[in-house]
């Protein structure tokens, strides 16, 4: 044969599905585009500017560090872009531009590159970035939030239903409903000082009514579509579910972690989520699932490959752990929202979970 010398010899398998790291990462970015589009629709071009600032900063920082480390520059693989984008998604639209920049720098440098880059980081880099920002600039991160045009921050639109003379009852309660995020409202209502401040029985009654308002169908609809205040990437449950469905369909993420995470939140919030003066209802778990960063966390961060368990049972344990921690932080912790911390904490447990859940080979008898 004239070309026998040029035959490629390599071990089996000789065919490949065709997926690459680059392909996976950019597909996740693509899955986040609906959320970004919704954010731009709600808040204007500022949401896009902030997001791109985070993503581009992350890419530049990664390239710089890789150059300094004298390793191949791999920013085209999309992982840095994705991390930067996720950092920005955890920031609200009223934040200054330097906030996502600083977050992205910390995420890429301390969260990822110090450990050797993609595949070696122990915890989710984007969440490291967010945690850093939240610890360093707590007011910047939580103050100055902007509600979606024509809606309140909390998603409760129908004041009249809650109290006929709302402003008359308490300016404080009015401010709460109009200018706090849904989870902040829920947290405040759980706090007894709020009730006592707006005096005794009337306060108790009002708190219960606001809480009911929070879990009403109208409010849930606002939560689902995103007619509330919140972080850029968290605002619309619908947009996030759209992206998640794409990732599940493309086999890029797997159902175990998101399902066990959301399932745990569903059950626990139904069991423990109500406050004195309100009835437990099936709306409550939906309120918890659609609000805050849960969907973004469950589908896009708790499914991060590197920092979550590889074994099938391990993934379920991981999801349940995230769910339990999220609910503990939301219901009894000092923060209104606990998604990012619960994922970060569970990330740390990942090696241990993997060790304890390593499966037995097909046909191996349990000893």
């Amino acid at each position: 044969m004239e070309n026998q010398n040029r035959l490629i010899v390599s071990p089996a398998p000789h065919v490949h599905e065709g997926t690459t790291v680059k392909n996976v990462m950019w597909n996740v970015v693509l899955a986040l585009v609906p959320a970004l589009i919704f954010a731009v629709y709600f808040w204007g071009i500022r949401a896009l500017t902030l997001s791109l600032t985070g993503a581009i900063t992350a890419v530049l920082v990664e390239a710089l560090i890789q150059k300094l480390r004298k390793v191949p520059i791999t920013v085209h693989d999309g992982s840095a872009f994705l991390t930067g984008l996720l950092v920005a998604f955890n920031i609200h639209v009223g934040a200054p531009l330097w906030l996502p920049m600083v977050g992205a720098v910390v995420a890429i440098s301390i969260g990822k590159q110090v450990f050797g880059g993609l595949g070696n980081n122990p915890v989710n880099p984007a969440l490291i970035g967010r945690a850093f920002l939240l610890a360093s600039w707590p007011t910047r991160m939580t103050a100055g939030w902007v509600a979606v045009r024509g809606h309140t921050m909390s998603g409760i639109n129908n004041f009249n239903k809650i109290a006929t003379n709302f402003q008359g009852v308490s300016q404080k309660a009015y401010d709460l409903v109009t200018s706090a995020t849904p989870l902040k409202v829920a947290q405040t209502l759980r706090d007894s000082t709020f009730v006592s401040e707006i005096n005794a029985e009337a306060g108790m009654d009002l708190a219960g009514r606001i809480f009911t308002g929070l879990t009403e169908m109208d409010t849930l609809k606002n939560l689902f579509w995103g007619n509330i205040g919140g972080c850029i990437g968290e605002v619309s449950a619908f947009a996030l579910l759209l992206g998640a469905a794409y990732l599940l369909y493309k086999n890029i993420i797997e159902w175990r972690i998101p399902l066990s995470y959301l399932g745990t939140v569903f059950i626990l919030s139904f069991a423990f989520g109500s406050i004195p003066g309100s009835e437990p209802s099936l709306m409550l778990p939906f309120f918890h699932i659609f609000s805050g960063g849960l969907l973004l966390g469950a589908f896009f961060m708790a499914t991060d490959y590197t920092t979550t368990p590889v074994t099938k049972n391990g993934r379920i344990i991981f999801g349940i752990g995230c769910g339990v921690l999220t609910i503990i932080i939301r219901l009894v912790g000092g923060y209104p929202e606990g998604v990012s911390y619960s994922i970060l904490l569970m990330n740390v447990f990942t090696p241990l979970i993997d060790m304890l859940t390593m499966p037995k080979a097909f046909g191996k008898v349990k000893r």
């Binding site: 035959l7 065919v15 490949h16 099938k312 097909f362």
Partner: protein, 438 residues
């Protein structure tokens, strides 16, 4: 139709369209054949001829060196021209006997026993052993050994493997369509030798014509049945096949006989039929010559030992510059350094890929995406085996499943980081051979 399958696995595109509708063509003789002394698991055969001897087609040229070994026969008539090292279908150099054709195609006399099914099991087994038959699906385990389980293991089920889950290959498919009755007769011979009361023919759903035909032929036989499988690689792997067909789990490290099952490939069943009825040795087999680079993809019945180059010529040559030539299927087959290699008893296919198809990209760092875990049919943790081998951690490698890996390649097929998992695991299997035997 109810479709069975097993947990795990993956879906490589089946690529059967090249040759699945091409009937089997005879390649009656070859100018030269190279009969390897190691075409099977076990001791290499011992030559009983010397250079210069004249041999007829079907004549014994090397005999089994012990029980777990195999007889080898001349697949053409001619003169022994060399005994020495030749390129093996697995790509290595190995001892073999070369026969140069005399063009006469003289064959030894075959008998015809029409009542072969009423023969004593021991006689049947002897005929199979004499014919030098080994598993023709690729592993090459001597068939007479497989059909001689220890007395205390009772076999009740024989499964014929008509899955052909490797992409591209169609030799078993064509054989089932063209020699269905003979294959069923072979199945009955196998059942008789091991005393099984149940025979199952397992076929994947992408061969509906074969399923229909076999079902029709098995209708009247109450001990025989056809099981259709959902398309899933590696369904043809022994343990996965047994589970899919019977829901029995072969214990890790154990053999199918532990669950009362013997598995044989449909091609082997055909060879068994020929051996039982005509006492014909295994001197030819069906091989698919396929892939995008072959001008006319064909299923050939060719003499064992024919060079792959001769097969390519018989299929009108190549379409362009060849990238990779694979002996066997693309998931578990061997990339050949040259087409001068010759086909053996386990050669089910020759797959010819273009430069572009053969191109592979560099290994990336593991992302821990766990796709390998999800696709592993043996329920192992492939990435952990690979990491353990990289960091020389024997204990971890074995715990993650090094010893249980069947090297089906599902993990490497789906890995987005293109890590050569099978190669790493193989490295581990060799490096820790002593620890694995414990």
């Amino acid at each position: 139709m109810r479709l069975e399958t097993f947990p795990g696995g993956t879906h490589p595109p089946d690529q059967k369209h090249f040759s699945c509708s091409v009937p089997i063509t005879e390649l009656p003789s070859a100018e030269k054949v190279v009969i390897h002394l190691s075409q099977h698991i076990g001791a290499p055969s011992t030559p009983v001829v010397k250079v210069g001897d004249e041999v007829k087609k079907g004549q014994l040229i090397a005999e089994a060196a012990g029980f777990v070994s195999l007889n080898q026969h001349a697949s053409i008539s001619g003169k022994i021209s060399k005994i020495g090292k030749f390129l093996h279908p697995t790509g290595i150099m190995s001892e073999a006997i070369e026969i140069t054709s005399d063009g006469k195609n003289e064959t030894i006399d075959f008998t015809d026993d029409e009542n072969f099914l009423s023969l004593d099991p021991e006689i049947l087994k002897e005929r199979i052993a004499k014919a030098g038959i080994c598993g023709m699906g690729g592993a090459g385990f001597p068939t007479h050994v497989k059909l001689s389980p220890p007395k205390e293991k009772s076999i009740n089920t024989v499964i014929l493997n008509g899955v052909e889950c490797e992409p591209y290959l169609t030799s078993d498919h064509r054989l089932m369509l063209e020699k269905a009755e003979e294959i069923i007769a072979g199945l009955k011979v196998i059942m008789k030798t091991v005393g099984a009361c149940r025979g199952i023919i397992g076929i994947e759903e992408n061969k509906p014509d074969a399923i229909d035909l076999m079902q029709k032929l098995c209708e009247k036989e109450k001990e025989l049945s056809v099981v259709a499988f959902r398309l899933q690689y590696p369904q043809g792997a022994e343990k996965q096949l047994i589970y899919a067909a019977t829901r029995r789990k072969v214990p890790a490290g154990g053999l199918p006989m532990e669950v009362g099952v013997v598995v044989q490939n449909v091609g082997t069943a055909y060879a068994i039929y020929e051996a039982a009825r005509y006492q014909k040795p295994l001197i030819d087999r069906v091989i698919s010559v396929t892939g995008s680079m072959i001008k006319t993809p064909k299923n050939l019945r060719a003499p064992i030992g024919t060079s792959f180059a001769a097969l390519v010529d018989f299929c009108d040559g190549l379409n362009g510059e060849l990238g990779k030539a694979i002996s066997g299927g693309p998931m578990m087959g061997f990339a050949l350094p040259s087409l001068e290699a010759t086909m053996g008893k386990g050669s089910s296919g020759l797959v010819l890929l273009s430069q572009k198809e053969a191109h592979s990209i560099e290994e990336h760092t593991c992302l821990r995406c766990a796709r390998c875990v999800d696709s592993c049919p043996m329920n192992l943790t492939p990435l952990s085996i690979v990491n353990a081998v990289k960091y020389d951690d024997v204990k971890m490698a074995i715990r993650a499943g090094l010893g249980d890996c069947i090297k089906c390649g599902s993990c490497a097929f789906v890995c987005p980081a293109h890590i050569r998992l099978v190669q790493w695991i193989d490295t581990g299997k060799i490096r820790y051979a002593a620890e694995l035997r414990k």
